[in-house]
Every structure is written in C-alpha cells, then in structure tokens.
C-alpha cells in the first residue's frame, strides 16, 4: 500500500514517517508532499491508498485539498494530522469527509488506532 504524507514542515513529515514505522507500517510505500497543491498533484500521479495531511499549509490548505478531492468524486481514505484538535475542528473535518483527525503531538499508538481500520 502507498501512503501520502502532506505537511509543509519537513520536520513534521519526518515525525509522521517515523511514527508510521513505529506503528508497524514501515513496509508501506510513503510519498511526501510539501503543501496541499503538491499533495493534490501527487494523489493523481501516485494514487496513494491513504492521505495523511496537515491542516494549515501554504498554497492549499489540507481542508481545501480534501474538499477538492471529494468534489472530484475521489473517496480515498483521508485523515488529518494537525496541531488543533478542538471539537469544532474535528466536526469540520468529519463533515468534509475525513476519516479521523490526529492532534499533534501524537504517539505511534494513536496513529495505529486511527490507521488500523484503513490499513489493517
């Protein structure tokens, strides 16, 4: 399986990739995107099975990325990994079609709990 990790911070992409490894998903292919626009292009080029995206990014936010995908009929699993985990943000994410929202900082266990229904 292939996982797209979108975050404008290289540090945070590295943290997510490391957490994927620690959560037992190190054998999956990982593609990185540096903002929402880059992620949108890589979704179509790379056809990932799952998108893990930051919310606040330059050029295109994670929410705009998700809206763009869903409005184009793309239903692939999508989850946010973001610094804000308020009930309002979670509600907005869910209504936009996200499967989950993981608030930073997070543990490998939190990531595993969120990904298990998608990746097994």
């Amino acid at each position: 399986m292939k996982i797209l990790v979108a975050d404008d911070s290289r540090v945070m992409r590295q943290i997510v990739v490391r957490a994927l490894r620690q959560a037992g998903y190190g054998h999956h292919d990982v593609v990185e995107a540096c903002d929402g626009q880059d992620a949108l292009e890589k979704v179509y080029d790379e056809q990932p099975d799952l998108v893990l995206s930051d919310w606040n990014m330059p050029n295109m936010s994670g929410l705009d990325l998700l809206s763009s995908l869903r409005s184009g009929g793309d239903t692939r699993p999508f989850g946010f990994v973001t610094s804000e985990g308020s009930p309002q943000m979670r509600d907005t994410a869910e209504r936009a079609g996200a499967m989950f929202l993981i608030a930073k900082p997070f543990s490998a266990d939190t990531l595993r709990d969120a990904l298990e229904p998608v990746l097994g």
Partner: protein
Amino acid sequence: MTSTIPEVAPGDEVPDAATLTQIVGDVFTGLLGTEVEPPFVAPHGEDILPVSATVSVSGGWTAQVVFACSDSLARRVAGDLLELDPAAVSDDDMRDVLGEVANVIGGNVKSIMPGPSALSLPHASLVGEPPCPLDVASLQLELAWHNEPMRITVWSPPETWPVRTVNEEN
C-alpha cells in the same frame, strides 16, 4: 497523547500559567520524549532569546503565540527530530523546527480558548524574539530543556477583547 486540558472561559484573554506549562510540557514530551524543566538559572527576564517563531490566532480569540529559545536548544531539537548531528542543522532546518514547535503550541492553546478562530502559518526568526507590546494581556513562561532556556509568550490585544458588562465583571 495530550493530557486533558480544560477549556478557558470566555472573557479570559490568555490561558493561565499552569495550563500553558502543561501544554508546552505535552508538546515537548510528545515530540521529543523528554520533559521540559523549570529554568536552571535565574529567570532570563528581559534578555532577548536569539531564535523564535510566532503564530497568530484571529477570530473569536485574537492573540500571538511566540516560542523563543537559545540557538543551542533549537539546534538540538532539530537534530533530534531530523536525526542529524546538531552541527549539521541548517538555518532552514532551524526555521522549520521553530515554526513547527510554535505551530503545535499555538494550535493546542487555540483549542482551549473561545472560538472559532483561525491559526496562521508560523513565522520563524533567527535574529531574536519579537517584543511583547505594553498594555496587552500577556503571559510569559520561562522554561528549559536540557538546561537550555526557552520562553513562551502569549499576548492578546485589548481591542479584540469581548465587551463585558458590570455584572459579568463582578
């Protein structure tokens, strides 16, 4: 991972020190696996720390959240997170890690304040921390990590505070 932190009541312009300490502690423990410490020397007070990053919150709550620290602290955090020797950490790596720490602290603070509000992208600086204006509601927290100083400042300008009635103030 983040502990349960109670929301701040409407009318409180900045979180209290205990809440902010808990948030910063959770962020460092979550990102780096080690806890922050109280300052090991006398509080650095007016001393300007050399590197910083700021995020702005605007909307139901309007504020600036600033994370500032020593060059050594930022370099060590970047080295730990990027699995690099601290000496090999570039200026871009420093800006990235400072911005991300400010972003995560700011996002967690925003989550407990009245909203809805929007969080800006972080702005990092390698030439000192921005001054905290006078006549604002502010909270400054002095902490350390591996004996290196950090300062977290949250300030909110008075023109954005909600108008409170006499009864509410009493």
